[in-house]
């Protein structure tokens, strides 16, 4: 796919953060909204100068699914858990479970971010039970 075009101009600081062990998001200078994923316009108020910020990486599981029928490239990894995590700074993102039993993670569990190589070799945010 388009992996060779990543990072792109919107995402470069985010992926650079992952490489440095930082979970970066944006905060709107005009309305203070927490913004994820990174973009050039605040989706709440329309301001065009979102500032970069660093998350403490702590949050709660908002939704989770254990994938049994994986896409072909990940078939040998299944079953694995995919999470939506609400970070304490007020944004939501998808993440994988870095370690532990995928059947044990549950909605509401506290988790913290860690960084692991994703399928394309780039460090990406994953989560572990806090």
């Amino acid at each position: 796919m388009a992996d060779d075009e990543l990072p792109d101009p919107d995402s470069e600081p985010f992926w650079q953060g992952c490489a440095e062990g930082e979970l970066r998001y944006q905060r709107c200078n005009a309305c203070d909204a927490a913004i994820f994923y990174p973009r050039a316009m605040c989706p709440v108020c329309g301001a065009t100068d979102p500032a970069w910020a660093v998350s403490a990486g702590q949050g709660a599981v908002h939704a989770c699914s254990v994938v049994h029928r994986a896409p072909p490239a990940l078939a040998d990894k299944a079953p694995y858990a995919v999470l939506l995590v609400d970070l304490d700074e007020g944004f939501r993102m998808m993440g994988g479970l870095a370690e532990g039993d995928p059947e044990k993670i549950a909605i509401g569990d506290r988790v913290s971010v860690t960084f692991r190589e994703g399928p394309d070799g780039r460090p990406a945010p994953y989560f572990v039970s806090a």
């Binding site: 796919m1 994820f36 108020c45 329309g46 699914s65 049994h68 079953p79 993102m93």
Partner: protein
């Protein structure tokens, strides 16, 4: 600082526009369905269009508006017009997933009301089963998708599974309740000769069908078939000249809320909450007046969330609403009477088939699965990952 508007609300025309009886559906048809190895994506659209024109009693030369959706080829709106030999004076290639055709119906009504066209054809086809053009199932990693791609969520099923997980956790919804919808839908399919899966199915068979992505089992998921469909939409003046009873569009609303599941504002409320209210208001009807309801069933959870968002039951009550055969033949809430995407057909973007079935029910053409004396139907299409919804209310004169 909250989001700020400049335009005064009384100057926004969408607040006042009514499409009530702006157009009627004059003809509908499917192509061959199921596994159709000897057809291209264009063949099936030609088949469906020919059938819909015959059903309407109109000719291809009458068509001046063309509504197309798909991700095949390079420029589907041009390729299908060329193949069919149509030079439309009005074109719409809205692509918002499987609900695109319910969007088309509203857009066709508006175009006809504005005298931009008078005979509109909505066409769709897919050969995803036989020709493996599974474009919709590739994991993308560009633009916004780069933030989801590393985690291997199968698309679209994994996104619906995440929404289901949230509904289960918030409201205690169960796999048994979702399975009951799959069983009721199969019971309808058993009464539809065109349905792909017609053998009996039990709740336990659904629950034992294997996990795809928890909490969704294999039989919580739609079929993967070939197929095409078409509908002919005409102005009120033309509708009154045709042999078959016109099926009127009484109300329509549409809404889009996100593209990726991590961006969905509330995992248990779909854009049907917005589009449905608009459709009901425009039609001037209430929920209990509806005779038959056709709701996009890409997955069992799609139906549950859409029913709640449309206001057929309160948030959290969808599981009980669907359980124990309530929506099956003989049940008090006839739902997805053709057997749905779960058991009849699902060629990638299923929304055109919701319209086809609603029209046939209202005309009384459904034989063994006919809902008696149906005069008012609701069609609700959901596309993407609970991303887009258009809801249409249809009725006889």
């Amino acid at each position: 600082m909250p989001a700020r508007r400049v335009v005064p609300i009384h100057l926004t025309k969408a607040a006042t526009l009514s499409l009530n009886k702006a157009c009627a559906i004059a003809g509908v048809a499917e192509s061959r369905l199921g596994a159709v190895p000897d057809a291209t994506v264009l063949t099936l659209q030609a088949e469906a269009l020919a059938g819909a024109l015959a059903d309407a009693g109109l000719e291809k030369a009458d068509i001046d508006g063309l509504f197309v959706s798909g991700a095949w080829g390079r420029l589907p709106g041009l390729q299908i017009a060329e193949y069919l030999g149509i030079q439309p004076s009005y074109s719409d290639t809205t692509m918002v997933g499987g609900s695109s055709f319910e969007f088309h119906l509203g857009h066709a009504a508006a175009a006809i009301q504005a005298s931009l066209c008078s005979v509109a054809a909505i066409v769709y086809g897919s050969t995803q089963r036989s020709r493996k053009d599974r474009y919709i199932f590739q994991i993308r990693s560009d633009l916004g998708y780069q933030y989801e791609a590393p985690y291997g969520l199968p698309t679209p099923v994994g996104a619906y599974a995440l929404a289901a997980s949230r509904h289960f956790a918030e409201y205690g919804t169960t796999s048994e309740q979702l399975a009951d919808l799959a069983v009721s839908t199969r019971e309808w399919a058993r009464r539809n000769p065109k349905a792909y899966r017609r053998e009996p199915m039990t709740r336990d068979e659904v629950l034992d069908s294997g996990w795809i992505a928890t909490p969704l089992h294999r039989y919580d998921c739609c079929l993967f078939t070939d197929g095409g469909g078409a509908a002919i939409i005409v102005s009120p003046e033309i509708a009154k000249t045709l042999d078959k009873p016109p099926v009127w569009l009484l109300g329509q609303g549409e809404s889009v809320s996100h593209a990726q599941i991590s961006e969905m504002p509330d995992l248990t409320v779909t854009p049907a909450a917005v589009s449905g209210k608009r459709a009901f208001d425009m039609a001037g009807v209430t929920h209990d007046q509806l005779d038959v309801v056709e709701i996009y069933d890409s997955f069992t959870i799609t139906v549950l969330l859409t029913l709640e968002s449309l206001g057929f039951c309160k948030p959290g009550e969808g599981g009980a609403f669907l359980a124990n055969g309530r929506t099956g033949p003989g049940g008090e809430f006839p739902l997805n009477t053709n057997g749905g995407g779960l058991s009849y057909c699902h060629p990638g973007q299923y929304g055109i088939f919701l319209i086809i079935e609603a029209v046939r029910q209202l005309r009384g053409e459904c034989d063994e699965r006919q809902v008696a004396d149906a005069v008012l139907a609701l069609v609700s299409g959901t596309g993407g990952v609970l991303s887009s919804n258009s809801t249409c209310i249809l009725g006889l004169e």
